[in-house]
Amino acid sequence: MRTLAFATVLSAAVSSAAVSSAAAPAFERTEVREACSEYTPLRRPLFGDLHVHTRYSLDASTQGTRTTPQQAYAFARGARIGIQPWSDANTPGRYIQLRRPLDFSAVTDHSELFGETRICNTPGTPGHDSLMCRIYRGWPRLAFFLMNSRRTPFGFCRHSRGTGDDRNDGKNGGDQAQRNEFAGCSDADVLTWSDIRAAAEAAYDRTSACTFTTFVGYEWTGYTHRNVIFRNAEVPSIAPSSAEFPHETKLWDELDRQCRDRLASCDFVVIPHNSNVSNGTTFQTVRPDGRAFTAADANRRVHNEPLVEIMQHKGSSECYLGAGTQDELCGFENVPYDDLSARFVTWLRKPPAAINFTRTALGIGLLQRQRIGANPFEFGTIGSTDTHLGAPGLTYERNYPGHGGAGVAIGKSLPDMLLDPIEYNPGGLAVVWAEENSRDSIFAALRRREAYATSGPRIVFRLFAAWELPQDLCQRNDFAEVGYARGVPMGGVLSHPAHAAGTPPTRPAPVLAIRALKDPGTEAVPGRELQRLQIVKLWVEAGAVREKIVDVGGSATDTANVDPRNCNTTPGGSGSLCAVWRDPDFDPDADAVYYGRVIEEPTCRWSTRACNAAGIRCDEPTTVRRGWRDCCNPTFPKLTRERAWTSPVWYSP
């Protein structure tokens, strides 16, 4: 096997060299597969979704989701699938289908309660007829809350949970008889994890066509939420959950132990999400024992968590207008509370604090680098859906079916109401700049943070930072070649400019080349034009973080419009925006971070489309039925401005 793998690596390297001698493969090949026939040395954007829940997640299953991981991957590749409400004859009430298939995806079910969810859905298994499972089947949302509160090891699975492959060695409580009695839970855990792995393997295109890539993954849902994405098929035999490993550092320890230390080519990235509703817990700078981060802690975090999911179904995590920023464009898909539990316990709601947002964390990272010598928040950004329908990439505002999760549970009929809480949205996409559509190539892009997020549209977005770039780069056709040759792409760290020996170092200001192309869309649903191209800069000045948002392309005023009554749009904006921008206020002694943001012309938000389709007219109160009252809540905008965010580039003195 090793010989074959080596041969594959060698042949791939040779064929890559034949394609272009300018760039050797920028990633290590760790798996046995045919070489991709399409290899792009200067990389191409691949669109995907790394946050997908199926029926194996407790919350999805208690909302009527029956989609399996296999079906989720089929959906990502363009297949039509049926979703809830389900009739008594098991006929789906709705069908969904992507307009364009994705390039890659990962099913990331909650590993907590894998076993319980499976047992309650599988007649004949021990525990299936337990009272808890009866509640699960009769009052699923009550069971959701009860089972979540019981996920510390007790209840009908309490004696069979342990850690790793020593879970049944007697260290985990209970006597042998009890463990045997409840052994079904461990088995069910492993079976579900096996199903997820098998589905990823079956859907992964290992032919030279390289049409679709899957990753084995899962969600660790502790006091914060994180997705674990594995590099290839070599993965641990179980998915370490927050029930056994309640802090992210414990998760990393266990993943190191089970993956990197034991399996030759196993590697992973951990991607936090929903920092926006994490009550300030995602971007902490203290260890579990309360001591402050050291440089080693910071470096470990950056290695394990090179990315953050900035956009998804439960809101944008970039920034929040009024929470540490006056950037008006931060008023985008904001969830107006600080903690996800406030979704259910409304009287606990308080406005989000600045620390919940990635922009604040990027700034804190700069301060941390000054204080401890390392930046714990050197992360890139991606988007994804967090769909709980098993519908990766379903980011459309039109006919949005709701993504479930913490959203609306749908029983045996479609309720007459908005199908998601109005503060939610259809989610975003993860985009990587990769040489080819294979696990190794995409994983390498994730690891080096050459990745970006969109709020749904397939905007192509690129950014390079260098000390010197041609001012006419946007007009030339060697944008990427020059960018790679002279600088670093998004996700990179700008090193000090070279200078001749014996001469004093030059201290120029960095130049950013940034280019965005609109989503072309499809013939039936064309993409929207781009309105504005921006660079967001954070830097440290006098011990405090400053921010500046610079418009470098397009127009700050709307050139296109949309009528919220019927969602008809007028044309305007640009098909592409590009700029070469040198930082005029650069201080070579100050830590700084830059990222790009591009904004589309406005379109109708999903809720506006749903409200219009339901015949809701706020000036006629009789049309505003129960369940649709939020249609007329002025707190929530009728229009949206889709967008994309690059991963940042950093400068350190």
Partner: protein
């Protein structure tokens, strides 16, 4: 029907018919009897499958606390109704109370007046669906 019977009949009707908001993880707006039923199930779960730590007790506390609060409020309303109906003759009193209860049942069966997102069947339920 005695004043005492009026009070208890009214109280039972209120507990079985009037939609009240309660929180048991999720929020529902349904008759008190549904909350009582859920609370009983949770306590039964506690007995059959063992203790579940502080969150578990929080559920039991929420169920019992809200049930007690709402039941007490309904008792107060029922007492007021009984007092107000004291001026009526026993026959008229019986007619009024039973007619009101019957009308309440008819309305509760005819309309999906309850928000029941914890159900596997429907987000909105009528009286029969509440117990399905």
């Amino acid at each position: 029907m005695s004043a005492r019977a009026v009070k208890w009949t009214t109280w039972i009707a209120l507990c079985c018919l009037v939609p009240v908001p309660y929180m048991l993880g999720g929020v529902e707006i349904a008759p008190l009897i549904r909350l009582l039923f859920f609370t009983a199930v949770i306590v039964l779960l506690q007995i059959s499958e063992g203790s579940g730590g502080p969150y578990w007790w929080a559920f039991v506390g929420l169920g019992c606390g809200q049930s007690l609060l709402i039941a007490t409020a309904f008792y107060g309303v029922a007492a007021l109704v009984a007092r107000a109906s004291a001026t009526l003759s026993p026959a008229r009193r019986s007619l009024a109370v039973l007619a009101a209860a019957a009308a309440g049942i008819a309305l509760a069966v005819a309309f999906q007046a309850y928000d029941t997102p914890m159900s596997s069947a429907s987000m909105h339920s009528n009286l029969l669906q509440v117990f399905r």
